[in-house]
């Protein structure tokens, strides 16, 4: 264990790309976890899941069409779908969760289809697997990719801090917020756009199938243990940072896939939080 840890630090010290990966990973999971609190409480958890499949579809198309930077294509597509999902949730013939299910399977199918028919790659199943479960490509991120991810993640965290009070009001009671003059539509839109951004930047880290884990696990774990919105939010952020750091260090040392390792760390963390939460409650009673 100890030698494993020192080995991990050795990697960090020697290889800049490992440092980049760790910075990106921590920031992305921090952004996802903060947003997760609002999404889980608003009963929007599935939106994250649906959108990540949309992002998979978009990324396959971007790959086939040989876009140099697929973020330019994936980001707008995902944002548009996020807005679509939120809009139809309210007033339409097909209800919200059906729309999400439809969009996500459709994107998966189209994405795989496109890759299969038009893909030039000799290692098709490898490519698909990478997009779905995250890649080791997080270790091969270029400087510009790192910078853009860091900027996007910082913007997301910044937005969250600036609009924290408004987001609380809109999450806790949309009707009340609307009645007292808050433009709730605008905030829902903001949430949708930010979710889309988080998903697109988290694609590289954990892959599209595992993104919702980054969003929901820290929030759910924090909610087991804490009773106020502020402490839940802070705890969620802290847990996200810890679990992504631990997950990445383990994966570097043990050679396990990055995304899956982080998510497994979060599962363990959730179990521990459940136990801690019930001990706390028993202590209080």
């Amino acid at each position: 264990m100890n030698s494993g840890l020192s080995l991990a630090f050795e990697y960090l010290r020697i290889y800049p790309f490992v440092r980049y990966a760790v910075i990106v990973g921590v920031l992305v999971s921090l952004a996802a976890s903060l947003l997760g609190v609002t999404l889980v409480l608003k009963r929007f958890s599935f939106i994250g899941d649906g959108l990540s499949h949309v992002a998979f579809g978009a990324i396959s198309i971007a790959t086939v069409m040989h876009f140099t930077s697929y973020v330019q294509f994936t980001l707008p597509v995902t944002i548009i779908c996020a807005i679509l999902i939120l809009r139809t949730g309210r007033d339409s013939k097909i209800n919200g969760d059906a729309v999400i299910a439809m969009l996500s399977v459709a994107s998966l199918a189209v994405g795989y289809m496109v890759m299969n028919v038009f893909g030039a790659s000799s290692n098709l199943s490898g490519d698909v697997c990478t997009t779905l479960f995250g890649s080791t490509s997080i270790l091969t991120l270029s400087r510009t990719e790192v910078t853009s991810t860091v900027i996007l993640a910082t913007v997301v965290v910044g937005i969250f801090v600036l609009f924290y009070n408004k987001l609380f009001a809109v999450t806790f009671d949309e009707d009340f917020a609307r009645a007292s003059g808050t433009n709730t539509e605008a905030y829902n839109l903001l949430i949708a756009v930010v979710v889309a951004v988080v998903i697109v930047i988290a694609m590289d880290l954990v892959g599209s199938l595992l993104i919702s884990a980054l969003i929901i696990f820290p929030a759910l774990s924090a909610m087991r243990m804490f009773n106020s919105f502020k402490s839940v939010t802070i705890c969620s952020g802290v847990l996200a940072v810890i679990s992504s750091l631990t997950g990445m260090l383990i994966s570097i040392v043990a050679g396990t896939p990055v995304g899956a390792t982080i998510v497994c760390t979060q599962i363990v963390m959730f179990a521990v939080s459940c136990a801690a939460g019930s001990t706390l409650r028993r202590g209080a009673a």
């Binding site: 409480l41 609380f168 009001a169």
Partner: protein, 238 residues
């Protein structure tokens, strides 16, 4: 000038009117109960007063410095709130949101106001408690405090007694009357509880086949008033 004045108001959905040609006004310090059968348009009218629903025709005028955002709203509890991790203090403070423009954080004045509202409703000691662990009556006090934090002028309540036992219902009625009399806060309440409405309010708005607006005494003289009063006596209490 009246605080709220509705003139020839027609409300409905997709141009099918639920309430037509309604006119009434609410003065500062009034205690108005809106009663009527299910589907008579009580909630629609309430939403229109709050500015959440656009009338088909007619006007709702707000007077006496009652700008947008200075109505306190006590909505029905949603499923989301039942296990929402939030402290009482956070919830009451969120009432101070309206009309704050883009200021991201609360001022000292707003925090003081939230504390005062909690004191008024005897929940000052619960500030750090978790909302989801409170009893139904306490939760209602918290939401009432939040509504007060949003406005010291006018409170609009949507069936505030749903799911509360008779004892707690009486407690909340007393609190509302207290706020109304002592602090001169105007009350508009949508309710099913005829008995409580007649006992506590000073004005009644009855929606349905025939519309009535006037004082409680006048209402008891009308056909609907008598009918309601007799069914209440007939033992049809919940």
């Amino acid at each position: 000038m009246a605080q709220i004045e509705c003139r020839n108001l027609t409300l409905g959905y997709e141009n099918v009117p639920v309430v037509s040609d309604l006119s009434f006004s609410v003065e500062k310090g009034n205690y108005l109960c809106i009663v009527g059968e299910n589907g008579a348009g009580k909630s629609t009218l309430m939403k229109a007063i709050l500015g959440l629903h656009k009338p088909i025709s007619g006007q709702i005028t707000r007077g006496d410095g009652l700008e947008k955002g200075s109505i306190g709203y006590l909505p029905q509890q949603t499923d989301i709130q039942k296990d929402f991790p939030a402290s009482v203090g956070e919830i009451v403070l969120s009432g101070c949101q309206g009309g704050r423009g883009f200021r991201p954080f609360y001022t000292k004045l707003q925090k003081a106001r939230a504390r005062m509202c909690m004191e008024w409703l005897n929940i000052g000691g619960l500030s750090r408690s978790c909302y989801r662990n409170l009893s139904g009556g306490q939760q209602q006090r918290v939401l009432l405090a939040r509504a007060l934090a949003a406005s010291g002028e006018l409170l609009v309540m949507d069936e505030p007694f749903t799911g509360l036992d008779p004892l707690v219902t009486q407690e909340i009625y007393d609190l509302i009357r207290h706020i109304n009399k002592l602090h001169e806060v105007t009350i508009i309440m949508v309710t099913h509880d005829m008995e409580g409405a007649i006992k506590n309010a000073d004005h009644i708005l009855h929606l349905g086949d025939s519309i009535f607006f006037g004082s409680v005494e006048e209402y008891l003289e009308t056909e609907e008033g008598k009918a309601f009063a007799s069914t209440e006596k007939g033992g049809d209490r919940r």
